[in-house]
Symmetry: C2
Subunit: 231 residues, 2 copies
DNA sequence: TGTACATCAGTGAACGCGCGTTCACTGATGTAC
DNA sequence: TGTACATCAGTGAACGCGCGTTCACTGATGTAC
């Protein structure tokens, strides 16, 4: 190892380490005060730096927020993809495994979940940089549908779908889910939105004093949804 | 009209008027900066008062927030109940009308929707006062299910439901939906959560560049959900 | 009906606080010759 | 290998700002007799 690369490597490594330390501290902040209350000064304090030093790593508060959003999407995307990859069985079962993985991630990282799937941060406009990471998450269920169509686990039922809806679904198919019929896409989106609705209800407290055993309830609802999906 | 009641009435009326003026201004604020950024001073400025004057109407910022939350729930509850009351036809159709009403309310009052169904405001703990209003909203779909059971539009299918889930559903039935079987409650909750998942996805931007005709897409998805609900 | 008193809405100054961001700086680490 | 220079991370002070809340006050409106 030459002096040059080692030296450069050391500096770069330190930089990467501190960058991630800052993000970790910011994520902790997020849990306490939410995205709108995220404060660079508090983050700096937490890391043990002076507030202006953070600017060596993130040019502004919004850029730090963007980094957190991208991380969250990527983290969830990886968790979802890993779960699907490890799951055996028919589409219904693999979908259930995917749903559990998403919920696990959400309950383990509620601040990240709220950051990306909760109310948007007012005054913050997500830059294009976040799009690929967000798309990555959506690709997991879409690929699963594709495989289901290929394997024959799922197929279109006769349903009439309005023209403009068909147009939207066709675009989605062309971009991300070749070969998946309109009706299957529609049902997949239904299962997907129900899953997020349920997770949001749970995490945001709308099932408080209604559901006690969240694990069992989520599992049951998603089992039914998966059954309806492959129907 | 006696002097006493007129006078008292005048003062009370002025108070009510200004109270609602403050809430309106706060709601406008909400749209711009979100719940976490809601500022009493900005609200006061907007109303044309000095900031300390607001304390004659709301003892603290959190109390103002609480009032906004209660108003939002009540507003939505009324909109939902009115829609259901005006709807004719079978349970499937009435459910669809309910779904449309909820979505209309949400798109017309996105800040209120985000306030109650988005990420919770960190550091703010909703007091018990908000519970009745929140319950009022949930009663609308539950009553609809009750009616559906009575009319025979909907009935339980043979499904196995885990014990702890049955316990939770039984409590819900006892408190709010007498006579509605477990399976029907479960399906109703599925349709209800899917609806909120879809509305949240739309309002929070997760269908951006995927769906263009939100009206048609929502309608189609909810039609399918209503069809699945009544089976 | 008229008067003395109590209630109430709104004022304006002040409290102590934290925020994002800029800037000139110091000293350590890396690079070129 | 040794030296001169460039890059970079981190410091500390400062900027202008807005926040929630308290408090003593004024003047108008309502109440009791």
């Amino acid at each position: 190892m030459s002096t040059t690369t080692t030296a450069g490597g050391v500096r770069a490594r330190a930089r990467a380490a501190i960058t991630s330390e800052i993000k970790q501290a910011a994520r902790r902040q997020l849990a306490e005060v939410g995205a709108a209350g995220l404060s660079l000064r508090a983050v700096a304090r937490d890391v043990g730096m002076v507030s202006s030093a953070v600017y060596r790593y993130f040019p502004s508060r919004d850029d730090l927020l963007t980094a957190l959003i991208i991380d969250a999407y990527e983290d969830l995307g990886v968790a979802a993809a890993l779960a699907v990859a490890s799951a055996r069985g028919d589409l219904g079962h693999r979908w259930l495994v995917l749903a559990r993985a998403v919920r696990s991630w959400a309950t383990e990282h509620p601040q990240d979940y709220a950051l990306v799937y909760g109310s948007p941060v007012p005054g913050y406009h997500a830059p294009e940089d976040t799009v690929p990471a967000a798309v990555g998450v959506s690709m997991v269920p879409l690929r699963l549908l594709e495989e289901g169509v290929t394997s024959g686990d799922i197929s279109a039922r006769p349903t009439s779908i309005p023209r403009t809806v068909r147009r939207d679904l066709a675009r989605l198919r062309d971009q991300a889910a070749p070969g998946v019929p309109d009706d299957v896409l529609s049902r997949g989106l239904a299962a997907w939105t129900e899953m997020f609705g349920l997770i949001s209800f749970e995490l945001f407290g709308h099932l408080h004093q209604v559901i006690e055993d969240y694990d069992a309830f989520f599992d049951h609802q998603m089992r039914q949804a998966a059954a309806a999906l492959i129907g």
